[in-house]
Subunit: 426 residues, 2 copies
């Protein structure tokens, strides 16, 4: 736009100079003022931030990564910058998927693959992320627009397709196995698949793809009444797959679309979906950056603020053939897994015994042996500054007190007491 | 902008007509093409949605409230549209406050009061809501810009001030007591105050204001290592106030700013802050729209996915004078409270006994008395279609079986068995 306005200014100048009659100059000057005004308007329009080469921990207002790199200083994450190597695929860019995508983008994830075939509608405005001016755009296009403005460092791949169609599934599989972003990576081309879809058919398709590719993924969902949700980690062969214990609708082979009634829509809330997206991406960060406990299943019941957890082993009678293959492989690899775990444990044990705890820490905290308490110090802390007294007796004095009182009454003369009683009665 | 471009077109037309020499027409036509192109660009720029008078439950793509009004149909909320009557004040428009504001805006809250004195920085981009092009704007201005685009139905009031200054506190108190939005409302001018600040000093100020105004509020916080957070409900006189059990830094009177070190910044994550904002606004919705359980305290430990809860009674030795006054009032009002609770319980009990359960429900579910099981029906279900047999005996047959076997062995001749044994040995 600014280039175009500059051209217009030049053209006006040329026109002015070629005109013989100065009577036309006023109109041309007016036009030039208009162009100049529009140029100023264009200049004040949003400017995108430039790409950042390395994530810096420097504490300056202009560093978009300072608060993330601080996770290393706080001892939460060992190497935060590794996040730039990871690829995450998000299937379904709705109320949960779009917020998950925004969170990962703001965290500086390396690459995001986004899948959806739907368009943005005004009816989506009760959830976070999409804006009314994006109505009519595909969700993938709208997401790429917003996410690239937020963080130009993230590589965004957008797939406007339905993964439940034959062609959609082919493209889905192909995109997941493309390793050009990080050729040295083992396994498929992505580190994690997040399922953020709203129907079982699509979940079964993600399940099929991940079982075939031996791809770890996380599932998420929100109830139709908008007040519950869950996230789940699925590792082919190691945990239950989505078909190992399918929902009744899936198991009974009913087409779930026939269950929906005309003119009835599911409720949804930005709160429940925001919480589920937050729990999902938090689990993703813990999984990728190796910190904390990666939850195998975490539910959210918002009416009672109850968060159920559970673990599900794979079903040896699972109907999914690829799942059974992964289960077999997982069992066969047990000796190798045990040996690796043992070696790691030994390595950890030897490294911790060798180096001293908190040798030189920035807070200058040192560990002092407190097994022999310094009695003298404890006593001296009892001594109060001049002019102050203890309001209550010390523990020792308290123990003595009843004893001295008891001995005092014992020395009282019983005869003396009887005399006093008689005097009162008399 | 479009008006200006229209003017330019007219001016170019006038100029063209006044020029004697057609050699200048080419340049003028070129200019006109430029203006037409710019007009098209301007037309494709975002158009804001118009205001909505009533919240409709109609299921059409263009209804921004259909998914929220569905909460009534799902039986979660009795009257969702009441949300338009409520005013919520949010103090601190940072990582939690901005997301809380967006959630309430998308839920169609009546009025939002936003307080912050800070400016948007690139270092804030690791949390949701603010965009890089808003860097340099005040957080309140940037929030109003985004929120009014998302939902023009919400009345937004923005206060760019520091509530911990004398003047800031005065304006804060005045704004909270302004009842022009809903003059019939009891109490202060807002229904709830949400504290989303990042320091104790500001929390103590919100506490002071709410204790003085007898204003229910909710507190929120995220730890410096970015992996924990909490929300808390504070009802003056009824629950502990923030000064009833103050954090050590507050109790010891240390200026918390002296604890922060040069060049060291707290870590933060969009996930933790998103979850805390989600839990906070969910609790807000439950409180305002009267559904589910309003949590008095809910913690979030993301490393372990642990969500601690607790309740705190007010401290009779609280250092806050206004808190002590509210505590006294609360105790004095106990008989009235008990009477109201009793009356409500009786009213509920009589209403439930009078009207039939699910008299006419849209799912056509009817309750049948099953206290006398139909034995004949139970028997007939035992009868199998022709050609099929029960693989296992029925319960009755199973009971009989061991008895008949026992009687059979009793009739066996012992002499006969001995003969058989001898024959085997022989």
């Amino acid at each position: 736009m600014e280039v175009e306005l500059k051209e217009m200014l030049d053209e006006l100048e040329t026109l002015k100079r070629s005109l013989p009659d100065p009577s036309h100059y006023t109109t041309i000057d007016k036009l030039r003022l208009h162009v100049e005004h529009l140029t100023n308007l264009a200049k004040s329009a949003p400017v995108r931030r430039s790409k950042v080469k390395d994530m810096s921990a420097e504490v300056v207002d202009s560093n978009p990564y300072s608060r993330l790199m601080a996770l290393q200083r706080m001892g939460i994450v060992e190497n935060y910058e590794r996040i730039r190597e990871f690829s995450v695929a998000i299937v379904g860019i709705g109320g949960v998927g779009s917020v998950a995508a925004e969170m990962l983008t703001r965290c500086g994830i390396g690459r995001l693959l986004l899948y959806d075939y739907d368009k943005v509608e005004l009816a989506n405005m009760n959830r976070l992320f999409f804006r009314p001016e994006q109505v009519g755009m595909t969700k993938t296009d709208a997401a790429v627009q917003t996410l690239s403005e937020i963080n130009p460092d993230v590589v965004l791949e957008s797939y406007t397709l339905n993964i439940t169609t034959v062609q959609g599934f082919e493209t889905f599989m192909k995109s997941l196995t493309n390793k050009s972003f990080c050729p040295s990576k083992e396994g498929s081309g992505v580190d994690l698949v997040l399922s953020c879809v709203d129907n079982y058919e699509a979940r079964m398709v993600v399940n099929q793809a991940c079982n075939e590719l031996n791809q770890t993924w996380m599932e998420s969902g929100v109830s139709e009444d908008a007040v519950s949700g869950h996230i789940q980690l699925l590792i082919p062969g190691e945990t239950a797959c989505f078909a190992c214990a399918p929902p009744l609708v899936v198991a009974s082979g009913v087409d779930e679309r026939t269950l929906k009634r005309e003119g009835v829509c599911a409720a949804s809330l930005p709160t429940t979906m925001g919480v589920v997206a937050g729990l999902l991406v938090q689990n993703t960060l813990k999984f990728l950056l190796k910190f904390g406990y990666v939850s195998p299943y975490l539910g959210y019941n918002s009416l009672k603020d109850f968060f159920p957890t559970m673990e599900m082993k794979p079903n040896p009678q699972c109907s999914n053939v690829a799942c059974l293959e992964r289960q077999k492989e997982y069992i066969l690899a047990k000796p190798a897994r045990d040996a690796a775990a043992k070696a790691k444990m030994e390595a950890d044990a030897s490294s911790t015994t060798e180096c001293p705890l908190h040798d030189d820490n920035e807070w200058n905290i040192s560990v002092v042996d407190d097994s022999v308490p310094d009695r003298k110090d404890a006593r001296s802390s009892d001594a109060l500054p001049e002019g102050l007294i203890h309001e209550l007796p010390s523990a020792d004095e308290f123990q003595k007190l009843p004893a001295s009182e008891a001995s005092a009454t014992a020395t009282d003369d019983l005869e003396d007491l009887r005399r006093q009683l008689e005097a009162l009665n008399g």
